[in-house]
């Protein structure tokens, strides 16, 4: 670890490189986690097929790359297609479990995750796939800082998407209806909000965000029918760390996770990257317990 630290001190540009790469990684996790936080917060559904929506989005990009279209253009297409897909899934499955207890929704979405992975495997086979945007890399500081164009574009797109959603939630009619439903579904219903439609919209929006993230995943990493769980788990970690109902916190935690993971992979070795992140989550949770304990004492 110390010798790795020495490398960073000797070449601070490398530290900048790690930071930038971490932000790129974090941007995608932030998107996926944001969708999860939305569904969790508004509908109280813990969506275990989150990562599988990501992979479906990735395959849309892959298909476009196969037919000779630059896969970056798949972003809006995946967004729209996955929105429709999410709406259909809501009507077919989620609608029936939204008012039930936690385990019903966990089981239902876990089943969906298995189903999606197997169907993808039947269609595309188990091979690892990638989509190539062919944008290249630019270098700074004697080649020590490398920035892949596709990652930079992804970061920009992820940022724009996140900003668009935040504005939408704040100012549009539907956005306000979603927030009202999240606060108190019964009161919202009394005041004329069609909560069923709000749920459908929220769920579809989540699938669309995941699909868009999936396009970026296929451009940056690799996709395979069974890789969805990676993104599901990280989304859960981020939402738990940020705390429910804290949407800006989710985005920050996403970036934090990406940077922390990349830094610890360099300093401690790649095998400890995940362990480092999970340990940090543990510390956050313990810290929050201590805080809550204080509050409880005051109330008492």
């Amino acid at each position: 670890m110390l010798d790795n630290l020495q490398i960073l001190i000797a070449a601070p540009a490398l530290a900048a490189d790690l930071l930038i790469q971490g932000v790129f990684i974090g941007a995608i996790f932030a998107l996926v986690a944001y969708g999860l936080a939305l569904v969790w917060g508004v509908m109280n559904v813990k969506n275990l097929c989150q990562g599988d929506y990501v992979i479906v989005g990735g395959y849309i990009a892959y298909l476009m790359a196969q037919s000779g279209i630059n896969p970056i253009l798949a972003l809006p297409i995946a967004f729209v297609l996955m929105f429709m897909f999410g709406w259909v899934v809501y009507l077919a499955v989620i609608r029936r479990v939204v008012d039930r207890d936690m385990f019903t929704s966990l089981l239902a979405t876990f089943g969906l995750a298995l189903l999606i992975a197997q169907v993808l495997n039947l269609i595309f086979g188990p091979e690892v796939r990638t989509a190539e945007a062919g944008f290249g890399t630019f270098f700074m500081a004697d080649g020590l800082i490398a920035i892949q164009w596709v990652r930079l574009i992804s970061l920009g797109l992820a940022g724009a998407l996140a900003l668009g959603i935040v504005l939408f939630m704040r100012h549009s009619r539907m956005g306000r209806a979603i927030r009202a439903t999240a606060q108190d579904p019964r009161a919202a219903r009394v005041l004329g909000v069609n909560t069923d439609q709000v749920y459908a919209f929220t769920y579809a929006l989540n699938a669309a965000i995941c699909g868009a993230a999936g396009v970026l995943v296929s451009l940056i990493w690799v996709i395979q029918p069974y890789f969805g769980i990676v993104y599901s788990i990280r989304a859960f970690v981020i939402v738990t760390a940020a705390g429910l109902g804290n949407l800006p916190g989710v985005i920050l935690a996403g970036f934090g996770l990406g940077v922390a993971e990349n830094m610890s992979a360099f300093l401690l070795g790649a095998e400890f990257a995940v362990a480092a992140v999970v340990s940090m989550l543990l510390i956050v949770l313990i810290y929050r317990q201590i805080q809550l304990y204080r509050v409880r004492q005051v109330v008492r």
Partner: protein, 416 residues
């Protein structure tokens, strides 16, 4: 209701017991008339299905060729071969169940292996328990050969040999350039799973033998496929050799990110180049000079009487099965496994499993796939791993030098 639930359960188990008895009587069906029946649980669906099907095609091609060319001669009589398959859905638990079913219900006495080390690990304890000999072609993990299994034989080279040849090659090159092999610096990135760690163990052993210095030893997490931290370190430490192993995911990620970050390490070796299709996915320029180990290549000069040379096998396979541009080594080694069975039947001149086991243990044959001779532990010690290099978008054998068709290009000169 006439039956209580408990009664129903008793009844069901009685029926199951009767059924089992019925099957037990079928257990003598190991040789059915003039047909010898082999059994295999193989991954026809699930995550290993692509390679599982390659293996099945390999088994079937061997069966077809053996049956068309005189069959198997035991005790003066000619027999045909047939393989019974079950789909293990790429899950070890299912594989073990199906092995039980093949042995107990279908009465199979001669087994062929499944696909992957994981499945082989699940099935081997079952075949050992029933003392049923198994020739496997797709499980390379060296941990399979440290269990003291008596009835399992493997035709392929074990996993610790996969990248060890690249270390020998690096040493050879260092000597050729007037340097000491102990000056060679190695960067390693291995996925944290049993197979890749086996590959790593082989690399570490050989690096130690030459006194080489390991400057990076990263174990990539099994889930996320990002290597930027490792590659950033590679840029700072400038090793002479970078070795990577992490299945198709690792190969695809490494090939892509090595190009994106323009890593200038003069020698790069990784497993699963072919499975990940890195040449077609990332281009000949970006992957130029990458070294890829393989169990078998159609350009090797091995041959036998049934299939002819490796190149003949290659041509026949492509003619028999549609849609293959390259013949995967998974198919070739599956074919070799069936040839080992034929050879063992004829030498044992018997259907007795113990005599067959001893005949298998004494195997010493040449095939289009390479020479086959088993160690005490059951792995093939007569066939080396082959190292190929991507040269102008094609895979050329560069090591071991005895079978090399091309000179190794050092340092690699990719165009990113």
């Amino acid at each position: 209701m006439f039956f209580s639930r408990k009664d129903a359960r008793v009844l069901t188990s009685a029926v199951a017991g009767l059924a089992a008895l019925g099957f037990a009587s079928a257990a003598s069906a190991k040789v059915d008339g003039d047909t010898i029946i082999l059994g295999s649980a193989i991954s026809l669906t699930g995550k290993y299905s692509t390679n599982g099907i390659h293996a099945q095609n390999g088994y079937e091609l061997a069966v077809k060729m053996i049956n068309e060319n005189g069959g198997v001669k035991v005790d003066g009589k000619t027999y045909k071969l047939k393989v019974v398959y079950y789909d293990d859905e790429s899950t070890p638990a299912r594989g073990a169940q199906l092995a039980e079913r093949l042995i107990n219900q279908d009465g199979v006495k001669y087994m062929l292996g499944p696909y992957s080390s994981g499945l082989t690990k699940a099935i081997a304890p079952v075949t050992e328990k029933y003392k049923i000999p198994m020739v496997e072609a797709e499980g390379a993990s060296r941990s399979l050969f440290t269990q003291g299994y008596r009835y399992m034989f493997a035709v392929l080279s074990t996993s610790e040999q996969y990248l060890a040849s690249s270390i020998a090659l690096a040493a050879e090159i260092a000597k050729g350039n007037g340097k000491d092999p102990s000056d060679v610096k190695i960067a390693m990135a291995f996925e944290n799973d049993p197979f890749s760690l086996d590959v790593r163990a082989g690399v570490v052993d050989d690096a130690k033998k030459y006194g080489m210095k390991i400057v990076i030893d990263d174990k990539l997490p099994r889930d996320l496929s990002d290597m930027t931290a490792t590659l950033t370190k590679t840029k700072a430490l400038k090793p002479d050799l970078l070795v990577v192993s992490g299945h198709s995911k690792g190969a695809a990620t490494a090939a892509r990110q090595i190009a994106e970050l323009r890593i200038e390490t003069p020698m790069v070796a990784m497993t699963h180049c072919e499975a990940a299709k890195i040449i077609s996915q990332f281009g000949a320029g970006a992957t130029e000079g990458i070294l890829c180990p393989t169990q078998w290549s159609e350009t090797l000069s091995y041959k036998d009487d049934l299939f002819g040379t490796a190149a003949d096998y290659d041509a026949l396979f492509k003619k028999t099965y549609d849609g293959y541009k390259n013949v995967p080594y998974q198919a070739a080694q599956a074919t070799a496994a069936v040839m080992v069975w034929k050879d063992a039947f004829e030498r044992a001149n018997s259907f007795d499993t113990e005599k067959l086991r001893d005949a298998l243990a004494a195997t010493d044959m040449s095939t289009f796939y390479g020479n086959i001779k088993f160690s005490e532990a059951g792995n093939n010690i007569a066939k080396p791993m082959v190292l190929r290099q991507i040269q102008d978008g094609e895979l050329k054998v560069v090591a071991p030098t005895k079978w090399a068709s091309s000179e190794v290009r050092y340092p690699r000169k990719p165009s990113y």
